[in-house]
């Protein structure tokens, strides 16, 4: 019990971190354990964990999240990224969507609000997981830090309350709504409906924002559903428009390499990876992750918020095509955490976990295997891992 109470004091409420954001300019930053470059959290601890050992998204780099199918898991990651930025007091720039998108950001889980006992246990587990994540990244280096050693997590739990560093990555609850602070730090950039390139004014806007902002401000650039016809005019997908935009964004990221990060999502259903356009978009991004959701049963989807025994069942595969910093330097084989492994993601109300994917033990026939994973999920799994 004593442990829990200290924990309650640890996780600060929203307002505290907001007010301290003004005082502490480096809130939400921490140096990479590899080369010391500043990184910031994507809002998803396990996504931070697979970014080539940097334990966060390096400032000055971008991440392109591609997703096939009609689901919006990449959008969930994007909201977590934006919400983490708001909580940390970073300036969040959102392109293309209106303010309703900002109102739907998931809220922070604070210790006080989780009255439910079961939830609280889950939250404690999550916190141990992050803390170990942090320690594990510093110590273990190349191995992924997702494996939880009881001794290490115990040590982490004992050490943490005494040092009390500012939280690097918060826990968010999809069922809650983030209460935006009064002087909202979100900035919405509309897509102009001009016949020429709509991206020129977007780039100009973000450039103006960056150049006029104080130097200590950290910016996050959020682009949901890039090139989606619902948001962008048809001409936007012309190579001369979109690639110039991405190149300009890359230039901005390098120019403001200690202040800006960007995460973009791209629906692969409309723009397949086999096209040269998408390949160029990938080449212009620092990190490229592809989400391939399993076609799930309806009951699984409805139960996914419950976070019960079902949560171990992954909802899709995640492929790493490129990682920030790591691949720019030449790639080091499979050295990065998770690179080369089959990764799967599990989304639930409280967390988005990316973990190594493994099939249940094969007991001879395929019926048993598919039975263990659910009828259709198993089939899709087998198809999906055979890339």
């Amino acid at each position: 019990m004593a442990f829990r109470k200290r924990n309650v004091g640890l996780s600060r409420p929203d307002s505290t971190s907001q007010s301290s954001a003004a005082l502490e300019p480096t809130l939400g930053l921490r140096p990479s354990p590899i080369d010391g470059r500043p990184t910031t959290s994507t809002g998803t601890p396990s996504l931070d964990g697979i970014l080539a050992g940097h334990a966060g998204l390096a400032l000055g780099s971008s991440l392109l999240l591609e997703e096939s199918g009609t689901t919006d898991y990449a959008g969930m990651l994007l909201r977590l990224y934006a919400a983490e930025g708001v909580v940390q007091g970073h300036k969040v720039h959102v392109v293309g969507v209106g303010e309703h998108w900002g109102r739907e950001l998931p809220g922070v889980v604070t210790g006080r609000e989780s009255t439910d006992k079961g939830k609280r246990v889950g939250e404690d587990k999550m916190k141990i997981a992050w803390r170990y994540e942090r320690l594990g990244e510093f110590g273990a280096g190349r191995e992924g830090s997702r494996d939880r050693t009881p001794a290490a997590s115990e040590a982490a739990a004992n050490n943490q309350p005494s040092t009390e560093p500012p939280t690097f990555c918060h826990t968010f609850d999809l069922a809650k709504r983030l209460t935006l602070p009064v002087g909202s730090s979100m900035h919405f950039i509309p897509v102009p409906s001009t016949t020429s390139s709509p991206f020129v004014s977007i780039l100009q806007s973000i450039n103006d924002q960056l150049s006029s902002a104080p130097e200590a401000t950290i910016h996050r650039f959020v682009v949901p559903s890039l090139l989606s016809p619902a948001l962008y005019p048809q001409t936007a997908s012309q190579p001369s428009h979109i690639l110039q935009f991405l190149h300009g964004l890359r230039g901005l990221l390098r120019t403001y390499s200690t202040r800006l990060t960007a995460v973009l999502t791209l629906p692969l259903e409309l723009y397949p990876r086999t096209s040269g356009l998408v390949r160029w978009m990938e080449l212009l991004s620092d990190g490229v992750l592809e989400l391939t959701p399993f076609p799930h049963l309806a009951d699984t989807l409805s139960a996914s918020g419950a976070a019960t025994a079902q949560e171990e069942r992954p909802q899709g595969m995640l492929k790493i095509h490129r990682l920030p910093v790591f691949h720019e330097k030449g790639g080091g084989g499979g050295g990065g955490g998770g690179l080369g492994d089959d990764l799967a993601f599990t989304a639930s109300r409280r967390k988005f976990v990316i973990a190594k994917f493994s099939l249940p033990p094969v007991e001879g026939d395929q019926e048993g295997q598919s039975g263990a994973l659910g009828a259709e999920g198993g089939k899709a799994t087998k198809v999906d891992i055979e890339f």
């Binding site: 150049s211 104080p214 190579p239 300009g248 990938e282 490129r322 030449g330 080091g332």
Partner: protein, 359 residues
């Protein structure tokens, strides 16, 4: 032993390209050519500082003969990068190769032309913040402040092609780095030619190694055919020749002014095949095939075909090397590994025992 960080297997290819040579580097997503470009940088620049610094010392004795026969001029590198900024190359050169690019710049051994940061973004207007200096970097890297020489500086005794074309980009001259500010090929060509003439003056001729990092970006962004007035091309380029030919002609022109040229292009399957039928893909395929035919040496970097390995980053396929080493013109494949410290190891397939030889 920090003599040469270039793996011996690759050294014969990356070290000192002969006159007029064109080296083509191709890369794919996940297997970049940055480390190879760094090797060319290192091969051209790294030996000389040692010779210079230790020239009077005991070390100089053994190298005097080398220096003697290359008396004609030292090697200088002109790096034009459309995908990466100077900080990246400086960090790469310093960490893995022990190069100090910032120190080489004032000595006119190295010039960087930035094609990334202001190609499509107009530079930020001088902000009204009193505390914000024109340099937007709070990062305390000393490179920026020490770099003062611009190729634009007093044009020394050269009838430079047309300095008028450098008319619009007045802002970059105030900063230390030369930046390409317009995607028009005329502007790019004149900027590069200007840099070449600034590097190699008649007083001190140098053998210039020109490295073009991803000029195919100009093709992909439609810049090579766009009007200089940034009139956006509504109609995608349909005719391959009109889109590719100016870029190829520019590279050809530039080659005539330098000692050797290294060009890196993307060769991912969707782009190299040109099968999609989109202008972007067919143009890229045409450029890539054309360059590969012209090139004297092609180094293709790709990922391992068999998946990931902990100690192998990828494969370099060497083709078109005519009679340099013992095997003339043979196609050869070498595995490579870029370590966390940036040191590259290259070894034959199956020759994992020789992993350590690169260090």
């Amino acid at each position: 032993m920090s003599t040469s960080r270039i793996p011996p297997i690759l050294e014969q290819y990356t070290r000192a390209p002969s006159a007029g040579e064109l080296v083509l580097l191709t890369n794919v997503l996940g297997a970049g050519t940055n480390w190879l470009i760094s090797q060319f940088l290192c091969g051209a620049l790294a030996e000389d500082p040692r010779r210079r610094a230790g020239g009077a010392a005991a070390l100089g004795g053994g190298h005097e003969t080398d220096a003697g026969e290359e008396e004609k001029g030292e090697t200088a590198v002109l790096l034009v990068s459309w995908m990466r900024d100077l900080e990246f190359w400086t960090a790469e050169g310093r960490k893995a190769w022990g190069l100090d690019l910032a120190r080489l710049t004032p000595r006119k051994r190295f010039t960087f032309i930035d094609g990334l940061t202001e190609l499509f973004v107009s530079p930020a207007t001088p902000s009204q913040h009193p505390n914000s200096n024109p340099n937007p970097h709070p990062s305390p890297l000393p490179i920026r402040s020490t770099r003062t020489i611009t190729p634009r500086g007093p044009p020394p005794s050269t009838s430079s092609p047309n300095p008028i074309a450098r008319n619009p980009p007045t802002p970059p001259t105030t900063s230390a780095t030369t930046k390409l500010t317009s995607p028009s090929l005329q502007h790019i060509e004149s900027t590069i030619l200007h840099a070449i003439s600034a590097l190699s003056t008649t007083a001190s001729p140098k053998r210039i190694l020109l490295i073009l990092d991803h000029p195919d970006l100009l093709l992909a962004t439609g810049a090579s055919s766009a009007a200089p007035s940034s009139q956006s091309t509504q109609h995608s380029i349909s005719d391959t020749s009109t889109a590719v030919e100016p870029l190829r002609a520019m590279i050809h022109t530039l080659r005539q002014h330098v000692h050797a040229t290294v060009v890196s292009l993307a060769a991912d399957a969707p782009l190299a095949n040109g099968g999609g039928g989109m202008p972007l893909e067919t143009n890229h395929a045409a450029l890539l095939a054309g360059m590969a035919h012209v090139a004297d040496l092609v180094l293709s970097v790709r990922l391992l075909d068999t998946g990931f390995a902990r100690d192998v980053s990828g494969v370099v396929r060497v083709s078109g090397a005519a009679g340099e080493g013992e095997e003339g013109g043979a196609v050869r494949e070498v595995l490579y590994y870029v370590g966390k410290d940036g040191v590259v190891k290259a070894f034959e397939r199956g020759g994992a025992g020789g992993v350590g030889e690169g260090s």
